[in-house]
């Protein structure tokens, strides 16, 4: 798992970045979503993965039994997912408004129209 995930995250980063640089706005949304996913997974992975055990303290114990998964990266990840969701939904609405205003989904058209005005 720990050897496979870095390659997957790297691919996600690359694909996300490629889509963000695309001139088609729908692909920009896809890029933002993939890039967000990649950062979240990166955060998850870099915090260290422990399988099969959570940091729940058993009854009549003071501390959780080793080895347990560090809950902090998971908490960070959860917050980051929510924030990313908010920003992505804003971006989707924004791009829809852009499409309504310019009648185009292509960044080149938008630029041309703003330059000529």
């Amino acid at each position: 798992m720990e050897t496979l995930l870095p390659f997957m995250i790297g691919t996600l980063f690359a694909v996300g970045l490629y889509f963000i640089l695309h001139r088609h706005l729908f692909k920009v949304i896809l890029g933002l979503i993939l890039f967000g996913l990649a950062t979240n997974l990166f955060l998850f992975l870099v915090g260290g993965i422990t399988r099969g055990s959570s940091a729940i303290i058993r009854q009549h114990h003071e501390v959780a039994a080793e080895p347990f998964a560090d809950p902090v990266p998971q908490a960070l990840l959860l917050t980051a997912v929510v924030i990313g969701f908010g920003i992505q939904s804003f971006a989707i609405v924004l791009i829809r408004r852009v499409y309504q205003a310019f009648k185009s989904n292509n960044l080149d058209d938008i630029r041309k129209e703003n330059d000529t005005r």
């Binding site: 915090g47 924030i83 804003f90 971006a91 924004l94 408004r97």
Partner: protein, 523 residues
């Protein structure tokens, strides 16, 4: 008042203001009254906090009374409080401008609640003592910026916002990755604890810290528009109306620089042999490219936008020199720049309100029609360029002196040269907008008739208010210089900061919270 409460108030006041504004949805008169009250309260709370910090140096509190490295920490030291004071003054002026300078539709559909929420974000970034919370507050601030930039939905605004959202999403992703790396290296996100950990000379992960710092260099570099990551700024700042762009241009990039200076003095200090020359190079290039870009523009707002970039270079310069005097210069310069930049944007808004354009070619002869406005612009512009005895001069003097003492001759030469080009650029605006005769146009009706005397005076009020602050800062520079020096000392000597934050988790409190836990677990 209790210091813990003082730390929370700058966050709570705008939050409750926003909530009340949402209850008064679409009633812009009530919303504006509400917002005015909140602005004054915010300024008041920040000034109280300043008084507290003057006597106690560093004030900190733990939300929910969880001991320090685990809970949510709020900290105020001189630097953060000075930032907040400048932000409060600038946003009060922008609010006064928006009352008469922003169209009613935008006022009705959420300008005021967004303004307040943006202010909460700024307080959050300045007062937080935790790396991840800083990221979260930045997102609060950014989502308000997104909404404000696209408020009204004109075509150029939409295009500008699209760029802003995309580039900031990228920057936030990088910051988040950096936070993950820092956590994996040191197992902590509390800034004070990190500051202690990175100063241990034999920590096994110390060499990897500079790798983590690269994430923050690029992330905050994008957010504060450092060379070569600034291209989005002129493209998105010129689009929205002045009541919005003045606030964002004046404040948000400076908050980015604040976070940058905070992290690179507190946490990422290990490899100063590499980072300081790198920062020096970046700061020189940022100054140069910004000012050269401005020289090529012929639009009032765009010239000012490029100057933002150039001045970010000065703020970085103090960090690159890294002596107490130079850092104090940087801090003074940030405070001065928040006020001056906001004021210049407001002046350009006042000009455009009457002449309906920002283009230098179409403007002219304002001096004859509105001599007072011309005077207000001239004083602010000279202050930006750094003519003594105005406020910009003191900041640049401290930076140059600090640079010369540290032997950074090239950086100082570049900064002084850039000052000269700034003066040229301001003279260009002065010549084109105020001094040259008004160009003949086909449409004689482009000048709007002057509005009633009272309304015109109301419109000048925010600019005069800010100019009074700028002049005050220039003439009575010595107390503010002293404050900046204290803030710089606080940045360079982290001992009081870390002690104040971490001491709250020392024995008796840990014991106390342990007892609370035990009683909660075994009732």
């Amino acid at each position: 008042m209790h210091p813990d409460l003082l730390l929370v108030l700058p966050l709570l006041i705008p939050l409750y203001g926003t909530l009340l504004c949402l209850f008064l949805w679409q009633r812009e008169v009530w919303q504006s009254i509400m917002t005015g009250v909140v602005q004054l309260l915010w300024l008041g709370s920040v000034l109280l906090l300043l008084r507290e910090v003057l006597s106690a140096h560093v004030v900190s509190t733990q939300i929910g009374n969880w001991p320090a490295p685990f809970g949510i920490t709020l900290v105020a030291d001189m630097f953060s409080v000075l930032m907040l004071v400048a932000a409060a003054v600038a946003s009060l002026a922008v609010y006064l401008y928006a009352l008469q300078g922003l169209d009613l539709t935008r006022q009705r559909f959420g300008y005021f609640p967004l303004l307040l929420l943006l202010q909460m974000g700024i307080s959050g970034v300045c007062l937080t003592g935790d790396l991840f919370n800083m990221f979260v507050w930045f997102e609060v601030l950014l989502i308000c910026c997104f909404a404000l930039l696209s408020l009204g939905g004109s075509k150029s605004q939409l295009e500008g916002t699209l760029k802003y959202v995309t580039i900031n999403f990228l920057a936030s992703g990088l910051l988040l990755s950096g936070i993950g790396v820092v956590y994996s290296l040191y197992g902590s996100l509390n800034l004070a604890e990190l500051a202690v950990l990175v100063r241990e000379p034999h920590h096994p992960n110390l060499p990897l810290l500079s790798m983590a710092s690269v994430f923050f260099l690029v992330g905050f570099g994008i957010k504060s528009a450092i060379f070569p990551l600034f291209f989005w700024l002129p493209a998105s700042y010129h689009a929205p109306p002045i009541a919005i762009s003045a606030l964002i241009a004046g404040l948000v990039t400076k908050v980015g620089i604040y976070a940058f200076i905070r992290l690179f003095t507190l946490v990422f200090v290990s490899d100063s042999g590499i980072t300081l020359p790198l920062l020096a190079g970046l700061s020189a290039l940022t100054m140069l490219v910004g000012v050269i870009g401005a020289a090529a523009q012929t639009d009032f707002k765009k010239i000012l936008s490029f100057h933002i970039i150039s001045q970010i270079g000065y703020m970085l310069m103090g960090l690159a020199i890294f002596t107490p005097l130079a850092l104090a210069g940087s801090i003074f310069f940030i405070l001065h720049n928040i006020l001056v930049k906001t004021n210049l944007f407001l002046v350009s808004g006042l000009v455009a309100q009457r002449y309906r354009t920002f283009s230098l070619k179409k403007l002219g002869g304002v001096y004859l029609l509105q001599p007072v406005l011309a005077l207000l612009f001239l004083l602010t512009a000279l202050s930006l360029a750094g003519t003594p005895p105005l406020s910009g001069f003191w900041g640049k003097l401290m930076l140059a002196k600090g640079g010369l003492e540290a032997g950074n001759y090239i950086l100082v030469t570049v900064s002084l040269g850039v000052s000269l080009i700034t003066l040229f650029s301001m003279t260009k605006i002065w010549n084109e907008v105020f001094w040259k005769p008004r160009p003949r146009t086909d449409r004689p009706d482009t000048i709007l008739p002057p509005v009633s005397k009272l309304r015109r005076r109301m419109a000048y009020l925010p600019v005069v208010f800010l100019l009074a602050c700028i002049l005050g800062m220039g003439i009575f520079a010595s107390p503010i210089v002293r404050f900046s020096e204290r803030a710089a000392d606080g940045l360079l000597q982290v001992q009081p900061y870390t002690d104040t934050v971490l001491a709250k988790s020392k024995p008796e409190q840990v014991e106390e919270s342990k007892q609370i836990h035990e009683t909660a677990l075994h009732p």
